[in-house]
Amino acid sequence: MMINNFFILLRQELLISAIIFILLFIKLGKDRSNESILHVINLLLCLNFAAGFIPMLEGELFNSMFATSKLVVLEKNILNLTIWIISMQSYAWLKTHQHVIEFYILLLTSLLGMFFLISSGNLLMFYLGLEMSTIPLAAAANFDLTKRQSSEAAFKLIISSAFSSSLLLLGISFIYGSTSTLIFSEIPMHLIYSPLQIFAFILLVSGFAFKISAVPFHLWTADVYEGAPVAVTAFLSVVSKAAVLFTFTALLYKVFTPMASIWYAILILLSLATILIGNLFALRQDNLKRFLAFSSIAQLGFILIGISGSSQQGFSSLVYFIIIYVFSNLAAFGVISLVSAVTGKENMNDFKGFYKNNPILSWVLTIALFSLAGVPPTAGFFGKLFLLMAGAANGNYWIIAFAALNMVISFYYYLKVVKAIFMDENEAPMQTIAIPTYPKVAMLICVAGIILTSFVTFIYDYIQSLSISL
């Protein structure tokens, strides 16, 4: 009983590890062309994503170290989809790269870590998942082995993440010391407003804030995003952020309920700072990856507002927004990675008059940006507004007003890109870029997601029904 239960509940994790092993074996065998390898990998990832739809039961393992539920499964599926899209998008870049398999192994390992992170029921498991998801990423960030910036980014990532995790650990140790337990379900009953616990909690929060890059713990983000290969940047900005957010929210709602008044205030403060700083920095960026880094920081501010709202609606709007955010952000990164893989250009000025030769890419990028900006009919509109609605539930309308007005600022810089693409004159616009099949499929999925998510209403209803169980 225990055994097959084990196999069922851990199915997604096992699948990922299986893929990793397959890759290792491929590596052991005689070396094949990148194309064939990529075909196999994309197929595997697609299957992995498809497998996620097979219904599975809820339950706990390793005396509540590992817990899974429908919601967790959904979250993991979202991540599966994401990694599949990313891998398809980075086709153009990986085709010529000499360490394809290693790259995938790193990414998948980190994904595995995230899975454990999401379904962790114990601070120890949580810590393990966190580190397991971070360390490989640092290595992956360095994957443009010859580029100075790439290794600088990797260095910044590893150092700052190590620093943050040490602070996180300090927090955990204090919690352990003051509550005698590491198990999530037991912590709440030991929580009292003792300064030590508050301090520990703040340390914990800072650890999360670092991962999801909330101001003032965000400073690594831009540099790493800029330096790392686009695929890794996409992974950082979408997958790891999503995973950590899921965990963070679950932790806040389930474990730290007694401290609600405090974390509520903290979230508000962080979100205000994050939105403002993120916008102000995004305003003046020229490198598109860096620009997207700051824009994603600003996005995070909205997410925090959403989380700060009433629990159930907050959580569902979060998950909903993440789905949309995945599509929108990946669509943008897809175009940029393709362009930078082919031409090596990542600057806004290079995109002037982009529409002339690349109408399709331009539209994809535009739609993605509009979705990020939250303009109807793209789904981003709904995602963002639902977050704000969730935040408004507590009646703090001034913050909503602040956020809404900041949307205008963010609007400005998104439109700046659109302006560059469509309106600015450029005597030497970028040449026409051929779109390989895999990226094409990826973009198709993303655009379809952006357009349709809001009109296929059962998605939201489903999330809502799940998050009730929270």
Binding site: F386, A392, Y397, A401, L405, M407, L415, M423, T457, Y460
Partner: protein
């Protein structure tokens, strides 16, 4: 009749436009689509009047209500009353005319027509929505196309104007959103009709009314948030200016009426003096600012500020007549200003200048266009027989019924603007249409069939309202009565 067609048809048209290729095909598709819309609107009017005639006194007709995001109480709820039908007719007319005047749009014609149609879809959706969220959704849909239309096909300092317009409108909708949130969390529904039945606490209203009203006010060029109007209109391509002034600015007025005033009447009543103050300033200030302009498009844009002031004034006065007037003024100004921009566009496309000083005596070489221009001008200065007169007089009458001394003063000042209007309209006409002609303009040709058709369409609308205003008052009268029930409650409450 199924109202969703009003959204569906533009949508399909847009898709068809994307599929079509070659200017000829695309414009044909767009034109047919717009004609179908016009037909729908006409049919809507017909069935509406029929069922009204049959004694149907429901506040909203042809309602359709489907759940969209059930957990958030967001529904797709549509329905029309006289006011929205007037707006829909206006929209459909202007859409047809707009597509006609951009008949020979060579540059990126596919995208151009696509965006035009998308814009019209937003307008239709906005006017038929009875669910605040849906309404807001369509309101914002209508913003982006404007940005692209101005930025890509515009003239002059286009990108800056486009950016300014988009950002200011976005700021407006941000304010609106806050207002909606306030309404939602105090009534737990987005349904306008539901909310109208409920009683939002006065404190809440007082807090959120400014958000909603200012938000929509920015769309309606409320002073001092009007600065997007001149640049936006001036830089936009002809059809875009027509849509912008003819349709989009009406979104604001309609929102002020339907959402802010209708749902929060007490607040509207207690804030009315501010509204009226701003409106009066807008009217007289806009008029004088217009007097100083030298670019035809700027002249019309500033005069739009002044004219839309009448809409706000009518709403702020909160009497049945004045609100009637506000609605009529919306329709009238829509048609009139669209006609004006069309004429200016025709002139510009021939003379390649919009500077009054560089024009003259056009009546000699292009009598049709010149006549169109003069008619638009006369309508704008409120000559009887044209819609402008009816609208303005109704507003004055209604405002005058508001016996408070300050309001009287406001009315008088606003009425005084008709003199200033006469001054700037006649200056523009006298310099550009009359007077000696520049010899390089001697060879220019008169309007082509499509331009003529567009102009005639709009003129017909203007003249019908101007000659037989009872038609439109009968159409919107019952609906304004409904509004007044709500507002009357509020005023008696105080």
């Amino acid at each position: 009749m199924n109202l969703s067609l009003l959204i569906l048809v533009p949508l399909l048209t847009a898709v068809a436009v994307l599929l079509g290729n070659g200017l000829k095909q695309i414009r044909a598709i767009a034109f047919i689509g717009s004609l179908v819309q016009l037909g729908l609107a006409a049919n809507l009017l017909y069935v509406f009047l029929q069922s009204k005639g049959a004694g149907n006194t429901a506040p909203m007709l042809f309602e359709y209500n489907a759940s969209w995001f059930a957990p958030l109480h967001i529904n797709y709820h549509v329905g029309v009353d006289g006011i929205s039908i007037a707006m829909i007719l206006l929209t459909s007319l202007i859409v047809v005319a707009g597509i006609l005047v951009s008949w020979s749009m060579e540059k990126l014609s596919k995208e151009y027509f696509f965006l035009l149609v998308l814009l019209s879809m937003g307008a239709y959706g906005f006017f038929i929505s009875l669910d605040l969220f849906t309404l807001f959704f369509f309101l914002e849909i209508a913003v982006i196309p404007k940005f692209l239309l101005i930025g890509i096909w515009g003239s002059g300092n286009k990108t800056n104007s486009a950016m300014k317009l988009a950002l200011m409108l976005m700021a407006g909708s941000a304010l609106v959103f806050v207002g909606l949130m306030g309404i939602f969390y105090n009534t737990h529904t987005f349904d306008i009709m539901e909310i109208a039945k409920m009683q939002i606490p006065l404190q809440v209203q007082l807090f959120f009314f400014p958000f909603a009203f200012l938000g929509f006010g920015i769309f309606a060029a409320l002073f001092p948030f009007h600065t997007w109007v001149p640049d936006g209109h001036a830089s936009a391509p002809t059809a875009a200016s027509m849509f912008l002034a003819g349709i989009s600015m009406k979104l604001g007025g309609y929102g002020c009426l339907r959402v802010a005033t209708y749902l929060m009447p007490e607040a509207a009543h207690s804030y009315s003096w501010i509204i009226i103050l701003l409106a009066t300033i807008a009217i007289i200030y806009g008029a004088f600012a217009t007097m100083m302009q030298t670019d035809l498009k700027y002249i019309n844009a500033y005069s739009s500020i002044s004219h839309c002031g009448f809409v706000i004034l009518g709403i702020g006065m909160l009497t049945k007549t004045s609100i009637n007037g506000a609605v009529i003024q919306m329709v009238s100004h829509g048609l009139m200003t669209a006609l004006f921009f069309a004429a200016i566009g025709m002139i510009y496309s021939r003379t390649h200048t919009r500077m009054v000083a560089q024009l003259g005596g056009l009546l000699k070489v292009m009598p049709f266009i010149a006549t169109t221009f003069v008619i638009a001008g006369l309508c704008s200065l409120g000559l009887p027989g044209f819609s402008g007169f009816v609208a303005e007089m109704t507003v004055f009458m209604g405002s005058w019924q508001n016996a408070d001394g300050m309001y009287r003063l406001a009315t008088i000042i606003s009425a005084a603007s008709i003199v200033v209007t006469a001054v700037y309209i006649l200056r523009a006409t006298g310099k550009s249409i009359m007077g000696p002609i520049h010899q390089e303009h001697e060879v220019l040709l008169d309007a082509t069939w499509n331009e003529k058709l567009a102009a005639i369409l709009l003129i017909t609308g203007i003249v019908i309202i101007g000659m037989a205003p009872f038609l439109i008052t009968n159409l919107i009268g019952p609906s304004t009565d409904n509004l007044m029930l709500q507002i009357g409650k509020a005023i008696t409450l105080k």
